[in-house]
């Protein structure tokens, strides 16, 4: 056991626990209101939103898995960088509109918006269920990230007792989320980000010095891993896979419930736009972090006997913890692992809040009990957030890590199928809700089929004449989805009942728009 590292780790965890409970009193609001508990009262300015979204999108699993992908597969794993580059122009274009209409009508989730825009509770239900189901394995993967660092510190007890540190961390998380709502992860995200930046910068400065510079690192790496493989004849090979993975993941990123929660908690559409400019700072960090996968290869940690057990248990996901253990003194190992561990709790908290918001608004209030008072609504969401986290915990005990990863891949494919209803819906109400629902079902089915028959590889080899085009199944499924939605709209014709007006989406005039509203013709 690494006592020094564990002590530092536990101290930092204790600190953020206190912070999590104290957060309930920060920018105090009535936590018996769902938008106060679940969106922090929509009061976060540009800077808090930056920390919150940064802490939300760049998760512990990202920090472990992206370098692990490079470590295991070479250049193809670097798709995470173009992914997080092109995601932000999309954030800039679409989401200020979502913020404006949500602010106007009190929507707290994307499914709320779909309900208001199309007046179809089944389509809203589809969007809500997609979000919840895609989020569950994502939370479970945060636990995987946490588990890897806990076992890397030498707390390795066989059997179910080995899960105790994880359970303790999760109970703490569950309690402060219940108590403080979105304010807790927002405040903790600041600490998390500072720790992560310290860790990543230290790795980027000190490890290359130990390994003889970047040139030496890339000279040690087998040349076929440094670049994308040249495609075989009659195939686009890794080229098309790389681009479709990057662009498809970018489309889905901000549709995830935890992203929407982060965006809607901003205090203005301008704060959202400014974040589209400043959040790419994290992309830089992610890209640099991805390079540490090569450092792990160059350092040869996978061949060192002291890390053999870790690699046997966690496979490539152990590459970065091993590299940290190998390169830094024990006290700093504690800081770095705490950064990853807290990096698991922040997104897990936001994800459970987002799933709870979705369930409460789009399922419970619509299909089970429509007469909730605001206080009951908030209470319901708090309890659901506990259930969601418990579910993720049970999930990790019952299924293999590999299955959680496969489900998370499916989750990305499913999330992408809400693109037509949401992105198109932000600009037009012409698409027929039933057509969208059928398109959604078609996309989900085809995407799932592609992933399952292809052994859970993200890139599906689509034959186009003589050419094979391996591409992200989410995008191919989205093609089916869009075709169905557009063609069937031509057949069905009628629009849904839209409670929003074009001016509701105008985020530039939003806030000055207090003049009496003109009578609308529905």
């Amino acid at each position: 056991m690494n006592t020094t590292a564990i002590t530092v780790f536990v101290l930092l965890f204790g600190f953020i626990t206190v912070l999590g409970f104290a957060a309930g009193r920060w920018r105090r609001g009535d936590l018996d209101q769902l938008h106060e508990w679940g969106l922090g009262g929509r009061r976060f300015g540009t800077i808090v939103t930056w920390f919150l979204l940064g802490g939300d999108l760049y998760t512990a699993y990202t920090f472990v898995a992206v370098p692990a992908l490079i470590f295991g597969g070479g250049a193809i794993g670097f798709f995470a960088l173009p992914y997080t580059i092109v995601a932000y122009p999309l954030l800039f274009l679409f989401f200020p509109r979502l913020w404006a209409v949500a602010h106007k009508h009190g929507y707290i989730t994307a499914a709320d918006f779909v309900q208001g825009r199309y007046g179809n509770q089944w389509l809203a239900l589809a969007v809500a269920v997609t979000g919840i189901v895609a989020t569950m394995p994502y939370i479970a993967l945060q636990l995987v990230g946490l588990e890897v660092v806990i076992s890397a510190m030498g707390i390795n007890v066989a059997g179910q007792i080995g899960h105790i540190p994880l359970v303790v961390a999760f109970i703490v998380l569950a309690l402060f989320t219940y108590n403080s709502g979105l304010r807790a992860p927002a405040l903790i995200a600041v600490v998390k980000d500072i720790l992560i930046w310290i860790t990543v910068l230290s790795m980027l400065i000190f490890i290359p010095i130990q390994l003889g510079g970047y040139e030496n690192i890339f000279n040690t790496v087998p040349p076929e891993r440094v670049l994308l493989a040249t495609p075989p004849p009659n195939s686009l090979g890794q080229y098309s896979a790389y681009v479709t993975l990057a662009f498809g993941s970018a489309l889905a990123l901000f549709l995830y419930p935890h992203s929407v929660t982060g965006i809607l908690s901003a205090s203005s559409a301008k704060a959202v736009q400014r974040n589209a400019v400043f959040l790419p700072a994290y992309s830089l960090m992610l890209g640099l972090l991805a390079l540490t996968g090569f450092m792990a290869l160059a350092s040869g940690v996978d061949k060192m006997p002291e890390y053999a057990a870790g690699f046997a248990q966690h496979r490539n996901n152990f590459a970065i913890p091993a590299l940290i253990l190998h390169s830094f003194p024990d006290w700093f190992v504690g800081v770095a692992f705490a950064a990853i561990g807290i990096g698991a709790l922040v997104p897990a908290a936001i994800m459970s809040i987002a799933a709870a918001n979705l369930y409460t608004r789009s399922i419970h209030a619509r299909f089970i009990n429509p007469n909730l008072t605001p206080a009951q609504e908030a209470r319901n969401a708090k309890i659901v957030s506990l259930v969601v986290k418990l579910g993720a915990l049970v999930f990790i005990f019952l299924v293999q890590t590999q299955q959680a990863i496969e489900l998370q891949l499916l989750g990305g494919i499913w999330m992408c199928q809400t693109v037509p209803a949401i992105f198109f819906g932000l600009y037009t109400n012409r698409l027929n809700p039933t057509a969208l629902l059928i398109g959604w079902a078609g996309g989900i089915s085809v995407g799932t089929w592609m992933a399952v028959t292809n052994n859970y590889q993200a890139a599906f080899p689509l034959p186009v004449g003589d050419l094979t085009v391996p591409g992200y199944a989410a995008l191919y499924a989205l093609g089916i989805n869009l075709t169905l939605s557009l063609v069937l709209t031509l057949f069905f014709g009628t629009r849904g009942k839209d409670e929003t007006k074009p001016s509701d989406y105008n985020f530039r005039t939003h806030g000055t728009d207090d003049a009496p509203l003109p009578v609308t013709v529905a």
Binding site: P89, F92, E215, F218, V226, L227, Q238, R508, T509, D513
Partner: protein
């Protein structure tokens, strides 16, 4: 509505700038090479890092121009 601000005539045109990162990254054969390297970092990597800087700069420009 009287409170509505006048749309600037060329506001929409600025949005086209946001397509540049997609164009720049959509064809990997263009940047899938080691040379020219940058202090030991292969072109494949530093070219994509370059777009981490260019993209927010473009976004900021669009933000200013469409405000």
């Amino acid at each position: 509505m009287t409170t509505k601000s006048k749309p600037k005539p060329n506001r929409k045109a600025w949005l086209c700038l946001l397509a540049l990162p997609f164009l720049a990254l959509c064809w990997p054969p263009f940047y899938n090479s080691v040379e020219p390297d940058f202090f030991g970092l292969p072109f494949f990597y530093w070219y994509q890092f370059l777009w981490v800087f260019i993209t927010p700069a473009l976004t900021y420009l669009v933000f200013i121009k469409t405000e």
